[in-house]
Amino acid sequence: MFLHTPTKTRILINMLLTQIGFAIISIVAILSDYKIAAIIAINIIFGLVVAYTNYSAMKRIVGGIERIKKYLDDLMDFVFFRSNRITKAQFIKNDDIGFILKELNKYVDKFDTMRKDDMHVLGEVVIALNKVSQGIYTSKIHSNTNNFMINALKKVVNEMLSTTSENMEELVGIVDKYTQQDYRTQMKINPILKGKMLITMQRINQLGAELNDNAKLNLRNGEHLEKNSITMNQSVENLASKANEQAASLEQTAAALEEITSITKNNTQNASKMASLSKDVKESVILGEKLAHKTATSMDEINEKVESINEAINVIDQIAFQTNILSLNAAVEAATAGEAGKGFAVVAQEVRNLANRSSDAAKEIKNLVENATQKTNEGKKISDEMSQGYDNLNQLISQTIDIIQNVSVASQEQLTGIEQINHAVSMLDKVTQENANEANNVANIANETLQMAQLLVKDAKSKKVS
């Protein structure tokens, strides 16, 4: 009964029913002449009617409140995310409670829509910011919500993403250019920027300016280096060729020195041979001198012997003279004896002839001996002269030996000197060869330096600078 009656009407109806009840009870009491039974009966009837209407009204109101309370509990769970769903009110009557339930249903619909919209925005924010953590700044929040707080979040996140993305684009653009060695441009720095982003951009601009300056400086230095390298290269090549020439000359010198050394060695050997030969000569001279002395002595001895021969010849000569005298005597005797002495006279004549021949022979020998004496004297004189000559020779040979010894010593010294020179030359040769090697090394290095300088210049030229 009165299903769709508002609570106010219900209470009014109850009041009216009660008033009507009281009125009817009074009327019945008057009309029935205050019959107790009639009054009680009417009382009971109205008591039952009012009790029913009151009970019905109470049940509706209390039940409605219970329903609202339950609905509100569900709503709390839903709003505070303790549950994810809510069952809306159904079977709504057209009374106050029904109105509240309808309002709550509308609220739930609105809230659900807002919650979904908010979640959509937040989901996008989560994705976008998670991407930001990974270095991706290009995301954007697209969905909308009527929740001003979430909308404020969306707005600020979008602004952050868009400016950060622009900044990143600037950074990437400039770093790309710098990577490609184009240092001509600088970043435009958004005037709103502060903090680390500002510092980063300023520093990168600074870095770019420095890279630009460095690139220019490198080109200048490179060109300078290249020029110097070319000069150095030429000098070093010169040096290397000179060193090589020097080495060749020294080699020739060394060869010549070797020849001189061998000649000097030969000289020394010859000098010592001469010395030994001189000694032999000296010995021979001494021997010759001795022999000359001996010859002189022998000559004296011959002279003595010749004297003896002369004495002997004188004896022979006297004998021949006496024999001659005897033969004369004999001839005289033979002539005296006549015929008998005729034969004897022949013999005497013959003896006389022999004595004459002996005398002649003695004379001849005497002449010969005289001749021999003369020759011997001459020989002696010659041997004396010879002795004197030997003496002279001896002195000269001694002087010669001295000279030869001097020559020998000098040769020895010369050899030592030459050996020292040889040593020095070979040292010099070694050093020169080392120098030549070093010069070649330096030439290589100079070449490399030149190549490096050319590379540097090429590299520096490849950079785009303002």
Binding site: F81, R82, S83, N84, R85, K116, M119, H120, L122, G123, E124, V126, I127, A128, N130, K131, Q134, I136, T138, S139, K140, H142, S143
Partner: protein, 131 residues
């Protein structure tokens, strides 16, 4: 027995897919819960986390709803890489993705135990019907 991971009150698992359901991006909570790295997930089909206990009809409802351009909500049992599972309350929006293309954004939060129990039972019945 498969291991269940229960989401905490503040868990918010978000993923983006293209119109074919291939994952474009997933947030840290999603990766942690599903036990995949974000690189493993990017480019994979979203059914990489699909659990065999989910009835086909549930996903059909999902696709039918979002393809019409409406928001779909529902309870989903997902699989982890190691073979475990976790329950979520999912809200799927047709969206413009972070890459500026058309796609879907899926946001998930904790489902209450009552909700889980109810849907566990419901899905078992649906699966039984599908067989």
């Amino acid at each position: 027995m498969q291991k269940e991971t229960v989401l905490d009150e503040f868990a918010f698992l978000v993923s983006e897919t293209d119109e074919k359901g291939n994952i474009i991006f997933a947030n840290d909570d999603f990766c942690k819960m599903a036990e995949y790295s974000v690189d493993e997930l990017i480019g994979a089909a979203h059914n990489i986390v699909r659990h065999k206990d989910m009835p086909k009809i549930a996903f059909k409802g999902l696709w039918d709803t979002v393809k019409k351009g409406e928001v779909w909500t529902g309870y989903v049992k997902n699989a982890t890489k190691s073979g475990g599972y976790y329950w979520v309350y999912a809200t799927v929006f047709p969206t413009i993705t972070s890459e500026g293309t058309k796609g879907y954004l899926s946001c998930r939060r904790k489902a209450s135990q009552d909700e889980i129990d109810e849907h566990d039972k419901l899905y078992k019945e649906l699966i039984a019907q599908e067989r």
